[in-house]
Symmetry: C2
């Protein structure tokens, strides 16, 4: 059975050595001293490895069960959820006014990574609640906030997001769910929603559904979509629960993974709903929290890759098979452990170098979000907007690949459910799909974000890379060759791709969109390259100062060198592909496939 | 629910336009006239799409059930198996002497692809039987052949291959299963084998296990391994079945996929076994059929990719979502179908261009095997030996990626089991692992095959590419630019990688092995590039002659151009990685991961 060890030391390194959070001029960040963050991470690490991780396989095996309209979660989930609530983990970064701890989003992200890695299906119950609560926080009336937020912060009530219908997911303008205005100011909601994570379950007293629907007589298409709060049980004036609302689970889906989460078909039948935000501005309300939600999904890609890697590494140390080609390393054992073999080592280095840089990338994204929200920094907001599709799309695509690589190290045992490696792969698969399929992320990046505000944010990104190189070049020839030169080359590839889009996307937008997936991936590589350069620098500085664990910092440098030498050059291939434009992609008529 | 349409036209194109089978000087190939092969492929196509494909989801959902030592296969498998046996499909390429149809291996391969695509788990029952029968055919005494082969050819009895034990798979020298010689010339076999596909089930009267074990007192390690025939029921002199042998299923494994096949733990307890081939030469006997078996697994990678692609394509035509960026293509519909979007088109082209070239590659490999076996051609044998790890490793790695891409086109529906796309991914995953995990294939390629017979076979491969380019260059500028130039560049990359290994592998073999996975992949790309160049040429010739379906040949050219322009350039990235050698891969001490 797999285990999980929270990477607290790596997280502390990113927070303090790389991002230097306390020196960032963001409200609330002055409190994030190393001792303080360490205490939180250690506690969360204990909870996730000791309580949540052991339930991961249980959730996968048992799944959720629907009986007479009641959904039963897997054995142990309820008790674990109670423990999570008790520890105050569900409201870490929610406002103190509503019972939260008011911490910056970056702390929610760090703790969230541990939760996801330990038990993705379990964590979704609180994750969706957090998303729904954030939408109410941003768009609700004071009365709505007072009614729902305290209970949602504590997860006594959980939340859901209802967007998809059987015939539409990405293109929500096609939606059919109707909202009919009532005399009391409420609406009657009727329709069917599918793929509703945590839609119904037995771990909360109430479930607060956020539902997209069209108000009768409103504008056509996406412009006529509004957002509604539809509680499972009506809430009385005094906060107590009233009668059951007209919403019910129709069925639960059988999925490839995340079996421990109840993915429901939800039927709304004249259910009482309350407008959240303005009429016909539902998409805007739903998407205010988009960057945050998508960053959270990108983090899941990293989290599954990390826990899969941890177990693959342990297996590679344990499993004896064959001999090192350069001569037996453990002649007293019947064979050498897998880790002596170069191709196993290559795979482990790919996983390790991805996981550590992806974490730095996501933490950086979280500081940008904090900067945008807490300091109202428009530049940070623009930059994180640009990076969000990269974080979501690239990290979940590659994160999935990494779980497959980790599984591969187990050989046949990787294919047997008993060993747990298959679950990481199956659970990681969803992150490429939900919260906007990765093709949509690439489209968002190339079709919208690149040109946003006159291309200001992508210019700002290139400046960050350029400035970093300029500030740190020429101090150490080795660091220049191993880190800065490859970063420069990769960044140049990315700029060339952007240039190609500008020059060729005008006359035919397909020339840009045919390369959108490649662009998202090359952008991701440049970001991870930047992260490795920053981590490499931090490690060098720490080594120069002679404090801390030298072998920890040496390992960072060795891992970074691997990424820069072997992974980052992928940008050249992506550029080659992009520069072929739409020609070969669109040449074949649809009818001739 | 997914469907499957056998690609008979594409197969005919490869057999007759590209490989020109009847003109090849291989015994039995003169019979493979287009009408004849068409009749077989059409029949197999009907059986696979109408009988086997509808059972694919059933097998996945029900799985196999073990009760009181009996394994029950999923509903409908028995009846379908009876139909397959009746049609003579199980003995297509087995000798007529034992009731087979004596056709060349290439026909078994073409039909096998359809079987695998339609129902991988089902097809394994006969696939393993074919493998075991081939081993008996190659190494058995006449009496053994007469006893087992007729019944195995008809699949009245099925077969298994027993290699893996709990603590060893790749490194079989560690095996513990013991064989004790008996006075009557038989052996008593005792030990446990795991991951035994089709190990026990209810579809055959007898099961013939081929078991690797160590004869007591024999040499240590891999040199002391022998191969034994261990029937489930003893066979009497008159061919009737006698008493039950000391072999029993211990449990069936829960796996990520291929649920319809019973993957068993098999316990041998003083089971009566008969030596197959020579004492202590078990590995050699087992591996005689290796090239064939591995080519068959490579074919599974292609087969799952093809059926997944077919369904993704249908979905992309059906599902309405969004509008073409260049303007609505179906203004009368509420939205355009997915296929109008460039990124969807890119994904479909990646799948299509892989599947069609992979098929040509495997068919080519099958003709080499036929040439080696039927014409005793040593050069063909050497070449197919070289290409086998590429076919197995590259096609299953990429085939799996393609099922993931096909699944992605379905968005959320791809994650729901009901739609069947998850099964293709889960079923395809095993092909990267069994019959030698892909890391072992890469090791075999770089560590053994490259230098085999003084590097003669890899030189022969480069000559084939060079000769093809020389013979066909200069006739059409477009063909040169679109097909021959990219092939030349990719082949040059591959040669440079080989050169790097020669120059740097001597001083440190890790310099070669750290690049083994990249080399296997770049070799695969060059092979698919060669196939596209050959298919492109054949399509051009057919168009010039003005016979046949012009749009079919135009589509081949368009698909080939995509591959050459966008996929083949991956060789440059692989070369870059290879040329970094072992340095960054092996720098981190095992203890510091």
């Amino acid at each position: 059975m797999p285990t999980y060890t929270a990477p607290t030391k790596d997280m502390q390194f990113v927070l303090h050595d790389v991002l230097k959070v306390t020196s960032q001029n963001i409200p609330g960040y002055d409190e994030l001293e190393a001792d303080f963050t360490s205490a939180i991470l250690e506690e969360a690490g204990k909870l996730t490895s000791e309580v949540l991780a052991p339930l991961n396989a249980v959730g996968d095996k048992e799944g959720c069960r629907l009986e007479n309209g009641v959904v039963y979660t897997p054995t142990g989930f309820k008790e674990a959820f109670a423990q999570v609530k008790e520890g105050g983990w569900t409201g870490l970064d929610m406002p103190e006014q509503y019972g939260g701890q008011g911490m910056p989003y970056i702390m929610g992200t760090a703790v969230g990574e541990m939760f996801s890695a330990a038990n993705q299906a379990f964590t979704m119950y609180q994750g969706l609640t957090h998303g729904a609560a954030s939408a109410i926080l941003a768009h609700g009336t004071d009365a709505q906030k007072d009614t729902y937020l305290p209970k949602m912060t504590s997860c006594e009530w959980t939340g859901t997001m209802n967007l998809t219908e059987p015939h539409c997911g990405t293109d929500l303008g096609l939606m059919r769910t109707k909202a009919v205005p009532q005399d009391d100011g409420s609406y009657k909601i009727t329709g069917q929603k599918i793929f509703i994570s945590s839609g119904e379950h037995d771990m909360a007293d109430n479930i607060v559904h956020l539902v997209l629907a069209k108000i009768e007589g409103g504008p056509e298409g996406i412009k006529g979509v509004s957002l509604f709060i539809v509680p499972k049980f009506m809430v009385n004036e005094d906060g107590s629960l009233g009668e059951r609302n007209g919403v019910a689970v129709g069925s639960i889906e059988e999925k490839m993974g995340i079996h421990g989460n109840s993915t429901c078909v939800m039927n709304y039948d004249d259910a009482k709903g309350f407008l959240l935000g303005e009429e016909h501005k539902g998409m805007r309300a739903m998407f205010t929290m988009m960057n945050e939600a998508r960053l959270g999904v990108g983090m899941q890609g990293l989290a599954q890759a990390d826990v899969a890697y941890q177990n693959a590494l342990a297996y590679a140390h344990d499993r004896l098979q064959g001999r090192a080609v350069t001569g037996a390393e453990y002649p007293d054992k019947p064979a050498d452990p897998l880790i002596v073999h170069p191709d196993i080592r290559r795979s482990l280095m790919e996983q390790k170098s991805f996981v550590e840089a992806a974490r730095a990338f996501i933490f950086w994204g979280a500081t940008l979000l904090d900067n945008a929200h807490r300091a109202d920094n428009k530049d940070a907001d623009g930059l994180v907007s640009l990076l969000t599709p990269v974080i979501k799309g690239f990290l979940t695509d590659v994160g999935y690949d990494m779980t497959v690589k980790a599984q591969q190290i187990y050989g046949g045992h990787g294919y047997i459910e008993e060993w747990g490696m298959s679950q990481f792969t199956r659970d990681a698969r969803i992150a490429m799909i939900y919260e906007g399929a990765n093709g949509v992320q690439a489209l968002d990046l190339v079709g919208r974000k690149l040109a946003q505000d006159g291309g200001k944010h992508v210019m700002a990104f290139f400046d960050i890379v350029k400035d970093f190189i300029k500030e740190n070049a020429g101090q150490d020839a080795e660091f220049d060759t191993q880190f800065l030169d490859p970063l420069k080359a990769a960044s140049k590839d990315l700029q060339s791709a952007g240039m190609y889009f500008m020059q060729n996307g005008m006359k035919d937008p397909n020339n840009a969109l045919a390369g959108s997936n490649d662009f998202m991936h090359m952008f991701g590589h440049v970001c991870l390259g930047l992260m490795w350069a920053k981590m490499g620098l931090a490690a060098r500085q720490a080594l120069a100062q002679g404090n801390g664990d030298a072998s920890f910092y040496e390992s960072k440098l060795a891992t970074g060198r691997f990424y820069m030498a072997r992974q980052l050059p992928a940008t050249a291939l992506h550029l080659t592909r992009i520069q072929t434009g739409a020609q070969t992609v669109m040449a074949l008529e649809a009818a001739n496939f």
